[in-house]
Symmetry: C2
Subunit: 169 residues, 2 copies
Amino acid sequence: MRKRRLEFLFMLSIRAATVNDVALLKALIFELAEYERERDQVVITEADLVRDGFGPQPKFRALIAEWDGQAAGYALFFGSYSTWEGRPGLFLEDLFVRQTFRGKGIGTALLANVAGIAKRENCYGVRWEVLDWNQPAIDFYKRLGATFLDQWKSVLLTGDALERAAEAN
Amino acid sequence: MRKRRLEFLFMLSIRAATVNDVALLKALIFELAEYERERDQVVITEADLVRDGFGPQPKFRALIAEWDGQAAGYALFFGSYSTWEGRPGLFLEDLFVRQTFRGKGIGTALLANVAGIAKRENCYGVRWEVLDWNQPAIDFYKRLGATFLDQWKSVLLTGDALERAAEAN
């Protein structure tokens, strides 16, 4: 009599990205930028990802979601710090699920993994930013019970203004 | 004949904070929180600052501004990463000048030092957040040529919602 085969197929897996994933990561970053209508601003290369993500002191970490063995999405994050809490936090720079893989709970699973890492590392929380027109994402974050810090405005010093500020030094 | 003494007094100095500054840093953090009307949210201790800022892998760096030898303000920041740029950035968590030392260019000097560090570390820029009612700070950042990223909303997952998200993992 034959043994019964396992009939449950585990379709979704989430794993830490390795240096072998840099081509995939770069492709996913460009897809996210396309979705966010900022494709023209993206200049990252595979060499940047190797150097900054997979050397002795990585500047970010990433998770890859696979659905039936196919790359379906990713999360990319790095450490932050709260001087109110006196504890580290995680900043989620990117969270993305490819169009054809949406509606399967993959975004939730990626965020759950990041939340799990935050808990294990004694972080006070996970921070990120969302575009104000991205209502599906905003609704998703609200369902998770996330807080919207609406009284805070994001500021960036870059380009010529950064050069001028640094010269005043 | 006596040599002429240097008559120029260098009133402002900016230096990197060391572990000997944790009591001062904690005091300054509480003063900033008072100014931002969030004093009741601050629980950081000197032990937290020692552990997280001055161990083998610091989670933040800080600068102290002194005016005529008196502690006048501070800047506290940590590394970030831009997947559009493929370069690191700096995130300025706190920038604060004590009331009696305002109007002397100390905030500008602190920010110039952070901008200088960003340049030396090949960062694409310096990011931070400002409270929407803090008009003097907003005006200051506009004069510096900073960009306000108004289409981005800040989101935080913390407390029970973080626990629930991590459990779904």
